[in-house]
Amino acid sequence: MKAQIILILLTAGLIIPCLSATSAWAIPAFARQYKTECKTCHTVFPERNEFGDAFEKNGFIWPGKVHTTPPTKATLSPAERQKAEAMYNSGLPEQLPVSLLAQHDVTYNSDAQPNFDLDAETELEIFAAGNFRNQVGFWAEYNFEPDKTTGEIYLQLQQPYNLPFNVKLGEFQPKLSIWKANDRPSLSKFGYNGMKVGNNDFTIAGEQGAVELNGVLGSRLFVAAGVTNGPDPKSANNGKDYYGHISVRIGGTDFLGKEPEVDLDHDSVWDYLTLTIGSFGYFGSNADGVNDFYRAGLESETLYKRLRVRVSGIYGRDDDPSGTGANVDSRFALAQVEYLIGSGLMPSMRFEFQDIDEEGITRRYIPGISYALLQNVRFAVEYLHETTPDETIRETTGRVTLVF
C-alpha cells in the first residue's frame, strides 16, 4: 500500500510539471502531443470514431504524418530549433506521454447489501502511449487496483524495413473483434469480451503475450494474424494459439484516416454512411492440451451521421473445457444502438444473448446514457437487466470518469 502511494506521488510529481509547462490542460497524452481535442478521435470517450480507429490501427502515429526531418516550426529561435532537433534525434517525445484515468462507481441493486452503494468501485489507471519518431507505436498501462495491475503493454513497429505490414509484440488483446474492449459508450463491456466457457480462461478481450502481424491493404481492408502463448500463463502447455482477423470498411473515413470523396452538388446516402464488416477466428488449446477450442465471429458496424448500430455474432466450440470429457458449444449475439445528441450526450441500448451448453441461456438488456460534461469528464448511468438460468440481476450503475 505504501509502495503504491509512493508510486502515485512520484507519478504526480512527473506529470504536474509537464502539465504546467504547456497550455494543453486537462487532456490526455495524444491530445497533448498533437494539440487537438479528444473529439478528434472519440465520440464520447473512450469510444473511438472512425479517425480514432485509424489512429489506433496506425500504431498511434497520426495518419499521413511522416517526419523525415525534425518537426521544427519556422517561428522557433535557433536555440529552440537545436533543442527540438536534439529531442528528435534522441527519439524521445518532447512531452512525457503519460495520462491518468480515474473513475468512481455508485450502484443500486435492491438485492444487494448495501442496496445503494456509494462506494461500489474506484479505479485509477495510468497509461503511457504514443510513438517514437513515427516508427514505433507503444502502449503501456497499469491499473492500481490490486487484482488488475498491468493491462496491455506493447510495441508496434510500423512497416519495419519497408515491409508491407506492422509487427505488434508484447502483452495485448489479440485483434479479433472489430472493436477494442473499451471502444463503447456503455459502462459494462460487451459480454463476449468476458465470456468464459467452463474452466477455459480464454476471453476475447483477455491480454496475452503475443506477436501479431497486421496492416491495411489498399485503404479499406485491414488484416491481422498472430500467435499467442495461450490464455493460461500458468499452464505447462507448450503449444501456441493462433488467430486471424479481417475487416473491410465501405464508405466513410478509410483505415488510413482519409475522408471519402463527397459530391458537394448532389446528395448520396454514402455522404454519411459507413459500413464496417469484420470476421475473426481464434484457435487455441489449454488445460495442458486437453481442451482444443476455437471461436469464430462475424460483426458489423453501421454508422449514419449520429446513429451507430453494432451487431456481433460469435460461435465457439471447446473439446473439453471442464475436464468432464464433454464438448461444449457456445453462442453469443449482440446488438447495440446508440445515438449522439449534441456533442456529448449519448444514449445507448444493448441486447446480448449468450448460450453455453450445460450452463444455459443468459440474456442482458442494457440501456444507458453517457454525458461528456467536458471532453475529458464523463458521467454515465447504465441499467443492467440480466436473466440467467439461476437468477435475475437488476442493477443500476452510475460512474464519473475523468482522464487527464
Binding site: 494539440k35 517526419h67 473515413t253 471519402p260 449520429r306 449522439l340 449534441g342
Partner: protein
C-alpha cells in the same frame, strides 16, 4: 511636380497590391482575420466562416494553416486540395452543423485566402 506625385501614388498603389492582404488580428481563441480588403462575396463568406468554424475550434488553427501552408495538427500540406478535404471532414463531423452549401462557400474563401498569402 504633379506628374511626380502621380507616379509616386501609382507606385504606392502597386506596392500595397503586392503586399499580402491576409491580416490576422489577435491570437489564441481571439484570433480573427481582417476581411476589409476582401471582395464583397468573400466578406460574406468570411462571416459564415467565423460562425461555423469557431463552433469547434479557434480561427488560430486556420490562421496557422493559411500562413504556413502546413496544417497545424496533421503536419500535412494545407493547399487547395487540402481545403476541400477539410471541408468534407468538417461536413461529416456529427456536431459541426456544416452543410454542403456551407462547404461550397467556405472552401473557396480558404482558397482565396491561400492566394492572398501567396501574393
Amino acid at each position: 511636380m504633379k506628374k511626380r506625385i502621380l507616379i509616386l501614388l501609382t507606385l504606392l498603389l502597386f506596392a500595397a497590391g503586392a503586399e499580402a492582404k491576409l491580416v490576422v488580428i489577435g491570437s489564441g481563441n481571439d484570433t480573427r482575420f481582417d476581411p476589409s480588403g476582401f471582395p464583397p462575396e468573400m466578406q460574406k463568406a468570411y462571416k459564415l466562416m467565423e460562425v461555423k468554424c469557431v463552433k469547434c475550434h479557434s480561427l488560430e488553427r486556420a490562421a496557422i494553416a493559411l500562413q504556413t501552408g502546413i496544417a497545424p495538427i496533421t503536419g500535412g500540406l494545407f493547399d487547395r486540395n487540402a481545403t476541400r478535404a477539410y471541408g468534407i471532414k468538417m461536413l461529416r463531423k456529427p456536431d459541426s452543423n456544416m452543410t454542403k452549401q456551407d462547404v461550397k462557400i467556405v472552401v473557396p474563401l480558404l482558397n482565396y485566402m491561400l492566394g492572398e498569402v501567396e501574393h
